[in-house]
C-alpha cells in the first residue's frame, strides 16, 4: 500500500479537520476563516482531480475501483471506502461548486451569521463521505452529517422566512431519515450484510421470503433518497426551501439533490442489475413515472413562478426529474448522457442561484427578497457598504446580462452549449441503444420522456425570457447593482466550466460513457471490494 492509496480518505478528513479548527477562531475574523476554508477546498479539489485521473487510468488492463479499508478489516466486515469513476466525478463536481460558492460568500453573506465556514466544511465532509462510502450504514452516517450541516446553513442569516422554511425542511428530513434507518435495518435483517458489494453478491442467491423483505427495505431506502432528490409527491418542500436560503447556500444545495440521484443510480445498477435474479430492475417503473411526473411538475412550476429564486428551485426539480426518469428507463446507453447532464445542470443551477442575487439587487420588484435580507441584517446593512472589499465591476449590467443569457441557454438546452449536448446525448442513447440497451422499439414511456425533455426546455426558455426582459430591458428604475469582482468571478468560473464541458465534449463524453459501462457491469466493482487486500498482508505498507 503506497501513499497514493491514502489519498482516498483525504476528501473526508481534510474538510472535517478544517471545520473543527475553524470553530475556535474568533467570529470577527470571518475573512481569515473564509481563506482557510477556501484553501482546504482547493486541496480537496486537487486531490479530487488526482483521484479522478487514477480512477480513469486503466490499470492491469482495466480501469477499476480503488478500495480503502478503514481500520484494515477485510471487506464485508470493516468499513470500506470505494473510489470509482462515478464517485471521483462527484467529488470533483462538489469541490468545484464549493470553491465557487465559498468565494461568493466572502463578499458579504458569510457575515450574516456565525460559523458559516465551519458548517460549510462539515457539509463537504458529509458529501464526500456519502460519495465514497462502500456500505449502507456509513452512508447513513455521512448523509446525516451532510444534513445536519445543511440545517445550519439553511438557517444562516436567520429571519422568519428562513426559520419557517427550516422547520419544514428539518421535519421532512428527519422523517425521511427514519425511513432510511428502517430500510437499512430491513436489508440487514434479510441479507446479513451492509456492504454494498457483498449485498450485490448475496442478492442473486436469496430465497423468496427474505428477498421480499430485502425489496421492502430497498424501497424504503429509495423513498428516503427520493425525498432528498425531490421526486414529485415528495418534493414540494424544495422550491420554498431553496428560495428562502441565502444565495451561496442555495447554490451549494444544488448538489444535495444530486446526492439522492447518485445513490439511487449506484444502488439500482449495483444491486438490481442483470445478476439480481427476479429482483432485476426493481423499482425502475416507479423511478420512470415518478421522474416523468417530476419533470411535468417542475415545468409547470417554472412557468408559474414570479420570483427568480422559486424559478431556480423548479429548475432543480426538472433536473432531478430528468435524471430519475433516465435511470428508470433502464437503458444503459442513456446513462452516459445522463451523467453529462448531471454535471452540466448542477453547474448551471449553482451559477444561476448566485447570479439571481446579483441581478435582483437592482430590481425593486425583488423588494421581498431584499426585505428578508434587511430583516436578517437589521441595521448592519449601512455599515456593510463601507466594509465591502474590492472594486465594483464596470459595465455591470452588460456582464450580468451576458451571464444570464448563458444560463438561459444552458437551462433550456439550446445549442451550442453543454445543456443542449447533454440532452442530445441522452436522446441519442435512447434511440441508439447499441450493446448496452435492449433491442426493443422505442416505447410509449420513452416517447413521453423525449416529449417532456423538449417541453421542459421550452418552458425554461419562455420563463427565462420573460424574467430577462423584465430585468434587463424594461427595468424602470434603471438602478445599477453594485457587484464586486469577488462575486461575479465565481459565476464566471462556473459558466466557463460549462463552456469547457461544451468544447471538450468528446473527452468528457468518453469519460461518462466509460463510467456508464462500468456501472452497467458491476462485477469489477464487486470483485475489487470483496478481494481487497489488507495493508501489511503483502509485506510492508
Amino acid at each position: 500500500m503506497n501513499w497514493f492509496d491514502h489519498l482516498i480518505i483525504l476528501p473526508i478528513l481534510v474538510p472535517l479537520v478544517t471545520a473543527a479548527c475553524l470553530i475556535p477562531v474568533d467570529a470577527r475574523n470571518q475573512m481569515l476563516k473564509g481563506v482557510i476554508g477556501f484553501c482546504s477546498t482547493v486541496l480537496v479539489f486537487v486531490i479530487g482531480i488526482a483521484l479522478m485521473q487514477a480512477a480513469a487510468t486503466p490499470d492491469e488492463g482495466q480501469s477499476g475501483a480503488m478500495v480503502y479499508l478503514l481500520g484494515n478489516w477485510p471487506a464485508p466486515f470493516g468499513i470500506t471506502l470505494v473510489l470509482d469513476r462515478l464517485s471521483a466525478l462527484m467529488l470533483v463536481l462538489t469541490s468545484l461548486l464549493a470553491l465557487a460558492t465559498q468565494v461568493f460568500s466572502m463578499a458579504r453573506w458569510h457575515r450574516a451569521g456565525y460559523h458559516f465556514h465551519s458548517l460549510f466544511q462539515f457539509m463537504l465532509a458529509g458529501l464526500n463521505g456519502a460519495f465514497l462510502t462502500g456500505d449502507l450504514f456509513n452512508l447513513f452516517v455521512f448523509f446525516e452529517m451532510m444534513l445536519a450541516a445543511s440545517y445550519g446553513l439553511l438557517l444562516h442569516g436567520s429571519g422568519p422566512l428562513r426559520v419557517k422554511a427550516g422547520v419544514h425542511y428539518v421535519a421532512i428530513n428527519l422523517a425521511a431519515s427514519s425511513l432510511f434507518l428502517i430500510g437499512v435495518s430491513l436489508i440487514y435483517g434479510a441479507t446479513g450484510t451492509l456492504n454494498m458489494a457483498d449485498l450485490a453478491l448475496r442478492i442473486s442467491t436469496m430465497g423468496p421470503e427474505s428477498r421480499m423483505l430485502m425489496e421492502t427495505g430497498a424501497a424504503l431506502l429509495g423513498i428516503a433518497f427520493l425525498v432528498k432528490a425531490g421526486m414529485w409527491p415528495l418534493g414540494f418542500w424544495l422550491p420554498a426551501t431553496y428560495s428562502a436560503a441565502t444565495p451561496p447556500v442555495a447554490a451549494i444545495f444544488a448538489i444535495l439533490t444530486k446526492v439522492g440521484i447518485y445513490i439511487i443510480l449506484r444502488l439500482s445498477l449495483l444491486l438490481f442489475g442483470p445478476d439480481a435474479g427476479t429482483s432485476m430492475g426493481f423499482g425502475q417503473p416507479l423511478l420512470l413515472y415518478g421522474g416523468l411526473l417530476t419533470i411535468g411538475f417542475g415545468t409547470v412550476g417554472v412557468l408559474a413562478s414570479q420570483a427568480m429564486g422559486r424559478l431556480a428551485g423548479y429548475c432543480v426539480l426538472v433536473s432531478s426529474g430528468t435524471l430519475m426518469a433516465a435511470i428508470g428507463l433502464g437503458n444503459g446507453a442513456i446513462i452516459g448522457g445522463a451523467l453529462y447532464y448531471l454535471v452540466s445542470s448542477t453547474l448551471t443551477i449553482c451559477a444561476f442561484f448566485l447570479l439571481i442575487e446579483l441581478v435582483e439587487r437592482a430590481r425593486d420588484a425583488g423588494a421581498d427578497v431584499l426585505a428578508v435580507t434587511m430583516e436578517a441584517y437589521g441595521d448592519l446593512d449601512e455599515n456593510e457598504e463601507e466594509r465591502e472589499e474590492g472594486e465594483a465591476v464596470p459595465g455591470t449590467m452588460a456582464v450580468l446580462g451576458l451571464c444570464f443569457c448563458i444560463c438561459a441557454l444552458l437551462l433550456s438546452g439550446l445549442p451550442p452549449l453543454s445543456g443542449f449536448l447533454a440532452k442530445f446525448a441522452m436522446l441519442h442513447g435512447l434511440f441508439n441503444p447499441g450493446d448496452l440497451g435492449g433491442q426493443e422499439p422505442v416505447s410509449g414511456a420513452e416517447w413521453t420522456y423525449v416529449g417532456l425533455l423538449i417541453l421542459s426546455g421550452l418552458s425554461a426558455m419562455i420563463a427565462l425570457n420573460r424574467v430577462g426582459i423584465r430585468t434587463f430591458w424594461t427595468s424602470i428604475e434603471g438602478t445599477i447593482p453594485r457587484v464586486f469582482l469577488i462575486e461575479i468571478t465565481p459565476v464566471l468560473v462556473l459558466l466557463s466550466a460549462c463552456l469547457f464541458l461544451s468544447f471538450q465534449a468528446g473527452p468528457a463524453m468518453r469519460y461518462m460513457d466509460a463510467t456508464a459501462k462500468a456501472l452497467a457491469d458491476p462485477q469489477n466493482y464487486i470483485g475489487r471490494v470483496t478481494t481487497a487486500p489488507r495493508a501489511g498482508s503483502q509485506g510492508g505498507q
Binding site: F137, F140, V141, E144, A148, Y151, L155, S158, G159, P160, V163, K164, G166, V167, H168, V170, A171, L174, A175, S177, S178, L181, I182, V184, S185, L186, Y188, G189, L194
Partner: protein, 111 residues
C-alpha cells in the same frame, strides 16, 4: 416477547405518524421522537430477539450465533440513538426560533 415488541413498535410508529401530521410544533417534535424510538427498537429487532446472549466475545472464547447475539444491530442502534438525539435537540432550537419570530407555535408560522 415477539408480540410485545412488535406491538410496541407498531403503537409507537402509529402515534408518531399521527402526531407528525398535527399542526402544532410541539406535537411534531414529540411525533418525531416517538418515531425514532420505534425505529431504534425496530433496528434492534432486526438482529433477532435473544435472551441471555451477550453480543461481545469473552477473552479466549470463540463465538457463534448459537451462543451470541448479533452485535451489529446493537452498534447500529447506538449510532442511530446518538444521531437522532442530536437532531431532535437541533429541531427544538429551530422550533423555539420559529415561535420567537412568529409568536405562534403553528408549523406554518400562522394560524
Amino acid at each position: 416477547m415477539e408480540l410485545v415488541l412488535s406491538a410496541g413498535i407498531g403503537v409507537l410508529t402509529a402515534s408518531g405518524v399521527w402526531l407528525l401530521f398535527r399542526p402544532r410544533t410541539y406535537q411534531v417534535i414529540i411525533g418525531l421522537s416517538l418515531l425514532s424510538y420505534a425505529v431504534n427498537l425496530f433496528i434492534f429487532g432486526m438482529g433477532r430477539l435473544r435472551v441471555d446472549a451477550p453480543p461481545v466475545l469473552e477473552p479466549g472464547g470463540t463465538g457463534g450465533l448459537l451462543t451470541h447475539a448479533d452485535p451489529i444491530p446493537q452498534a447500529l442502534v447506538l449510532t442511530a440513538i446518538v444521531i437522532g438525539f442530536a437532531m431532535t435537540a437541533l429541531f427544538l432550537v429551530i422550533l423555539l426560533a420559529s415561535r420567537g419570530f412568529t409568536g405562534t407555535d403553528h408549523v406554518d408560522g400562522r394560524e
